[in-house]
Assembly symmetry: C2
Homo-oligomer: 226 residues x 2
C-alpha cells in the first residue's frame, strides 16, 4: 500500500526502510526537501544523514510533510514528540482525514536535562492531543515503547517472544496497524483499548530510559507474561 512516513530521523528511516522492503510504496515527509537532501554530514550520534541513507534506499521517495501525507493511505508519525502537532498541521488535516495515523512519538522534554520528563502525561497523552487536534484522523498509538531496530525486527530479540501494544478509538485502523505489525514479525500484540490508554505506554518511557542505563543497551523489550 501507499504509506507516508513523517520524519527523517532514526525511527523514520527504520520504518521507511522496512516498509519499502515489504513492498509498500513509501514516501518520507520532511520540512524542506532541498535542505534535507543538502545535509550529508552524519548527525551528532554518528548516524548517516538522511540523504546518505536515501542513496541506499532508492525505492523510497522524499517529499514535504504535506506531499507524503497526501501520498499515503496510512501515515506513520515518526517525528519528535515536541514538534509532532506543528508538523501534523503542515501535513494537513485534509490529507490525514479518514486515514490510520500510526503514532510512534513520545512526549519527551529534554529542556531540564537528563533524564527527560514528559510534557504531557497521566491525565492526557500526546496521542490524545493529536486525536483531538485532528478528529478525522484515526490515531493508533504503537511501537513507542521500544528501540527503532526492534520495532521492525522483533524476532531479532528472543525470537520475537515479547510484547507490543496498540491504543486507538477506531477498530478498523487498529486492525490495519496490527496487520502491519504482524508483517514485521510481531506475534504478541495487545490491544489496550481506546486512545486514552496511550497514557500508559507513553509513561513507560521513564522506566525504559532507566533500564537502558541499567542494562547498558537499548536492545530490550518487555513481555507481558500471563
Amino acid at each position: 500500500m501507499k504509506i507516508g512516513v513523517l520524519g527523517t530521523g532514526g525511527v523514520g528511516q527504520t520504518l521507511a526502510g522496512k516498509l519499502a522492503e515489504l513492498g509498500h510504496e513509501v514516501m518520507v515527509g520532511t520540512r524542506d526537501v532541498a535542505q534535507t537532501l543538502g545535509r550529508t554530514a552524519p548527525d551528532g550520534y554518528g548516524n548517516p544523514s538522511f540523504a546518505t541513507w536515501l542513496e541506499g534506499h532508492t525505492a523510497v521517495q522524499l517529499g514535504t510533510f504535506a506531499e507524503a501525507t497526501a501520498h499515503g493511505e496510512l501515515i506513520v508519525n515518526a517525528t519528535n514528540g515536541s514538534a509532532a502537532l506543528e508538523i501534523l498541521h503542515q501535513a494537513g488535516a485534509a490529507n490525514l482525514a479518514g486515514k490510520a495515523l500510526l503514532d510512534i512519538t513520545n512526549p519527551l522534554d529534554f529542556s531540564q536535562g537528563m533524564p527527560p520528563t514528559l510534557f504531557v502525561k497521566d491525565s492526557d497523552s500526546l496521542a490524545e492531543q493529536i486525536q483531538r487536534t485532528f478528529p478525522e484522523a484515526h490515531v493508533v498509538k504503537s511501537l513507542n515503547t521500544l528501540t527503532a531496530h526492534l520495532m521492525v525486527t522483533p524476532r531479532a530479540l528472543a525470537d520475537g517472544a515479547h510484547t507490543v501494544f496498540v491504543s486507538g478509538n477506531d477498530s478498523a485502523a487498529k486492525a490495519q496497524v496490527t496487520t502491519l505489525l504482524a508483517s514485521f514479525g510481531w506475534q504478541d500484540i495487545i490491544d489496550l483499548g481506546d486512545i486514552s490508554t496511550a497514557r500508559g505506554t507513553e509513561m513507560w518511557l521513564p522506566i525504559w530510559l532507566r533500564l537502558w542505563g541499567a542494562l547498558q543497551t537499548p536492545s530490550f523489550n518487555l513481555k507481558i507474561v500471563r
Copy 2:
C-alpha cells in the same frame, strides 16, 4: 529476622503471611490495634477482615505502627500511598533510622474517579518523598509493579520467568531486599539504580491498570527480555 509490616490490607496480609511462613518474626503495624481487631466483617471487595486473617496466622503479632517499626530490623511499607507519609510519621523517624524500608506503595489518586492518576510523578516519586522525609531510613522501592499474590509467589506465573525491580540509594539495604525477594522465588531482579529510578516503576501503574482491563486478570507481570 524481625520484620515490621505496616498496613493490614491485602498487600500487608500477603507479605506478612509469606514472611512468617519463611520463619521471620513478623509484627504487623496498624493505627489502632483494638479497632483493627474489632472489625470482623469482610471489606468492600469481599476479602476477610484482618482480624479473621490473623486467626489463621497465629505466628504474626499485631501492634501499632510505632511498635511494629520498633520491632522490625527491616520494615515493609504496605500502606496506601495517599497515607504513607503520615503513617511513617506515626511509625517514628527514630524507629526507622538505619533500617531498610521496603516501600511497595503507589501514589494513586482516586479522587477524580477511574482510572486513578498519580499524585506525584515524573520529576519526583513517592519513594523519594519518603526518603527525603526520613533521611536516616534506607528506602528500597520494589514489588509495587505487580499484584500482591505474585509479589510473594512469583513461580505461580510462568515458573517465575518474569521481572521485579529494586531502586534505592543504599547498597546494603538493596542487597538485603534482594535476598528477601530471592527467598520468595524471584529469579530476575533488576537493580535500576538510585531511589529516583522509582519514578519509572511508579509510572508503570497507568499501563498496569489498563492491562488489567485488557487481560481481565491482575495475574500478569512484565518480563524484561534482553
